[in-house]
Symmetry: C2
Subunit: 513 residues, 2 copies
């Protein structure tokens, strides 16, 4: 079958898994019956245990779903500590349902797959050796890629039923109260992990830092936690976030950032109380810097910024240029450290952040969202999942969520990357549908989605802004790098990309070796 | 049938309602399947509506369960605003499931009962005209009295299924983010209401103070809220809490408080890092004052205090004598105002506070709990629900919860009140079983539960502490006021008192006029 963004979906698999094709980015007003965990009652004053082996033995069995968070990013010691034990203990046929998978987990996941320990994965994304392994058909069943908001929705609705969540934290008291804000391995917001803590049947904390009771603020609460496992070291502080947030010197990125800033400040959304989300890349950080200057010059303040938070955004908060930071994760050391001292840096869970099936997520209140792309096609569909070689090397993240929620979604991308076009006739994988994308900013010009005639009218009048047809950008890119040979795939589906409402927006096929 | 505290329970009713008799204060380790709300999905940026009528019309039908919180206490305008409309609109057969009922609600509840609008009530308690009305058989079905922890449990387990929660708040943004800490009608912690916000199918906020988005800290979160109803005035600040926390001058109360302090400081629990809960009465406040001096003198600091929080406890927090306040509700203006400025005054919901069926509530970590009693019998069973005339005039509150959780539970009570004995052979209504009570302090001496031989041994050695048999205290009381004529009741059960695990600890009969 073909869905609304013209992607061919595997009929057999869709039927077998009872999946529906993507139709629309509008969530509508369905009524949803949520699910709830099974709770084993305990008095719970002291849940500290030394033996992770015992915890696993007493709570896992073949076929269950286990979860982790990725707030430690590449400084994560929790995942490998737990998974290696699970592999050694010979469990089979587990579903791995982390908030995302970072590079430091790759070797262990591949080993677990090869030994039949993991046969199903749902994640925001995967990169490097694991992406390659899965793209080449290494995993038994297709990966289900979900956005952060969709993971929250799926957990709430029971589509992801977590049996045991293993959550690394930089501190916990013996009863299980924990946050991400104090200790050696601080990462700030526990946003994604809060879903696991609230919905998993069993919640296992791992920490190297047992603090005295009661530990507050308690992002994870004692009444959610079954075990607190003491480990030697839970994470490598130097690898948790990029230590420095250097300002890019890449002239192309700087040019794009300046243009993005021009689009924002000349849009109808730029006024006192506006709101925005930026990512963590070089261009995004540069946008924050230009926007800061504009806001000072124009006497304009933002009501909030949301998302992965960076140090430059915390600086804007402290300067009073942003009123509140709605913080589901922190991208660098500065923003992680900032949460403990700024009461206006509000920790939010993934549902509050971006769930399409609740009573209103923060992303729905967004004016402007600035997002990246591996590829964008002439229908404005965006790929942030597969490279130009068809191999998985990305993550949905909050891309679909933020794009669907924001009044104006801006994609920033260079026209080409090396020998590959970024603006293409047809993206390898549709992750975010063109209907939620409003503006594409490249160093060669700005393309505006034809459905936003209002923005075309407004921005065309701005001196210096070069508004072009996206097809022209695609043609320019093609002229630079030529027409690539179509990629060759087998018939086998290695991954399904869900849209945030659980419908299927694309299928990823196995690449030919 | 008779339960473990020798109370006769109405067999027919127990069978009809599928209820079990009270057996033990030990929660054990059952596995409990929680329930979850039905959510109607909305984008949810602006939920502000003017017409409460429309909200009621579109969300209520005969027979549903509605809820309110009692954090405004006698300054509450939310309850009457909503209930009067519901009465006028002619709904029938509703179940009223507030966290508790305060005097200011009485007239409206009675009117609603008389008109058949309300036929079932579950509450922590009731007082004054409503207690009298119910005790005389005014309500169709028996009231179910539940402790704060039990209400949390019942909501989580689905025994209380709230269809629509009407929650008054001193502030909310248009999306529904709200807290109890800013505005004219500030009450501090939203602890009890957080259960309704998380578990009701529909959540309606009422406020006189719409603030700009995003409103943080968000105790109630936008993703939980369906409507924000703007009202002229949500509460009377002067009646929300006792404005002043005057130190009692009653010599009997002072004497009891001094003895309680002696019991605490001579107990094995009094050491650095100990924890305690006190109530709000004159004796409790005096205990806090004596304890403060002892802690200063002895160089001892408490890890936390929990419960209904008072200004004197906030003072101890600011002095550094208490590390953390675990705050489910605030009893006075001072403690309500303190939450916004003290990050160590942690708002906790009723489940975290006292739920017997989760993975560990704060009360389980308590060393010392100081509680009051209307009556206590020679088996140490405590009545905080009915007067010596058999009429309902109290509330379970956190009594059962704190008593079950604390390592040492102290009941403070004068031997007699007016012409009525407080220490009696048999309490009119058992609310908290004697097995969770350790010490009774009266102005005539201290009785220790025989099961606590360790405390008897320890405290008997303390000079000046008069340890007596509880039967002696009962005899003294009887000598003072005589043996009262047994109360006369009809056979009809007007209320059932649940123990915190949902078993029935006592039944309250209709009083004879």
């Amino acid at each position: 079958m073909e869905n609304k963004v013209k992607r061919n979906l595997p009929d057999d698999l869709m039927k077998e898994l009872d999946l529906k094709p993507f139709e629309t980015s509008k969530a509508g007003n369905p009524t949803v019956q949520r699910v709830a965990p099974k709770v084993r009652v305990t008095e719970g004053q002291n849940k500290v245990v030394d033996s992770l082996d015992d915890v696993i033995k007493n709570n896992l069995k073949d076929g269950v779903t286990i979860s982790f968070h990725h707030h430690f990013r590449n400084g994560d010691f929790a995942f490998n500590t737990v998974m290696k034990k699970i592999i050694d203990m010979g469990y089979k046929d587990l579903t791995l349902a982390p908030s995302s998978l970072t590079g430091v987990m790759n070797d262990t996941v591949i080993e677990a797959i090869k030994k039949g320990v993991i046969t199903n994965i749902t994640s925001s994304g995967m990169r490097g050796s694991l992406g390659e392994f899965v793209s080449k058909g290494g995993l038994k069943n297709p990966v289900i890629f979900r956005s952060h908001g969709n993971r929250a929705r799926s957990i709430e609705d029971g589509e992801i039923k977590i049996d045991v969540a293993f959550l690394g934290v930089p501190n916990a008291d013996p009863a299980g109260n924990a946050n991400g804000q104090e200790g050696d391995a601080v990462f700030g917001s526990l946003g994604y992990a809060l879903m696991d803590a609230a919905y998993a049947d069993k919640v296992v904390l791992l920490t190297d830092n047992i603090v005295s009771y009661p530990n507050t603020p308690a992002s994870i609460k004692q009444d959610q936690v079954d075990y607190v496992v003491k480990v030697d070291k839970i994470g490598d502080p130097d690898k948790i976030g990029s230590g420095a947030t250097r300002f890019t010197k890449d002239p192309k990125e700087l040019k794009i950032a300046q243009m993005v800033n021009q689009v924002i400040v000349n849009s109808p959304y730029y006024k006192d109380g506006f709101s925005f989300q930026t990512g963590s890349g070089g261009a995004a950080l540069a946008v924050t810097r230009y926007l800061r200057q504009a806001m000072i010059d124009d006497g304009i303040k933002a009501s909030f910024a949301v998302g992965g938070i960076t140090k430059p955004m915390c600086d804007l908060l402290e300067e009073g240029l942003i009123n509140k930071l709605m913080d589901v994760q922190d991208f660098d050391k500065g923003s992680a450290a900032s949460m403990a001292k700024n009461k206006n840096q509000q920790e939010i869970d993934a549902s509050w952040y971006a769930d399409p099936h609740n009573k209103g997520a923060v992303v729905n209140n967004l004016d402007v969202s600035i997002l990246s792309a591996l590829q964008i096609d002439t229908d404005f569909n965006v790929n942030v999942m597969t490279g130009s070689d068809g191999v998985i090397r990305g993550a949905v993240g909050g891309h679909q969520d933020s794009a669907a929620g924001a009044k104006m979604t801006i994609i920033t991308a260079p026209l080409v990357r090396g020998r590959n076009a970024t603006v293409v006739p047809k993206v390898e994988t549709v992750v975010t549908p063109g209907e939620s994308i409003d503006v594409l900013v490249t160093e060669r010009g700005i393309a505006i989605n034809p459905k936003r005639q209002d923005l075309i009218d407004t921005l065309s009048k701005v001196p210096g802004l070069k508004i072009v047809d996206i097809k022209d950008l695609q043609a320019q890119a093609e002229k630079q790098v030529g027409v690539p040979k179509p990629l060759e795939y087998t018939d086998r589906t290695v991954a399904l990309v869900e849209y945030r409402d659980g419908t299927i927006i694309d299928a990823i096929k196995q690449v030919k070796d």
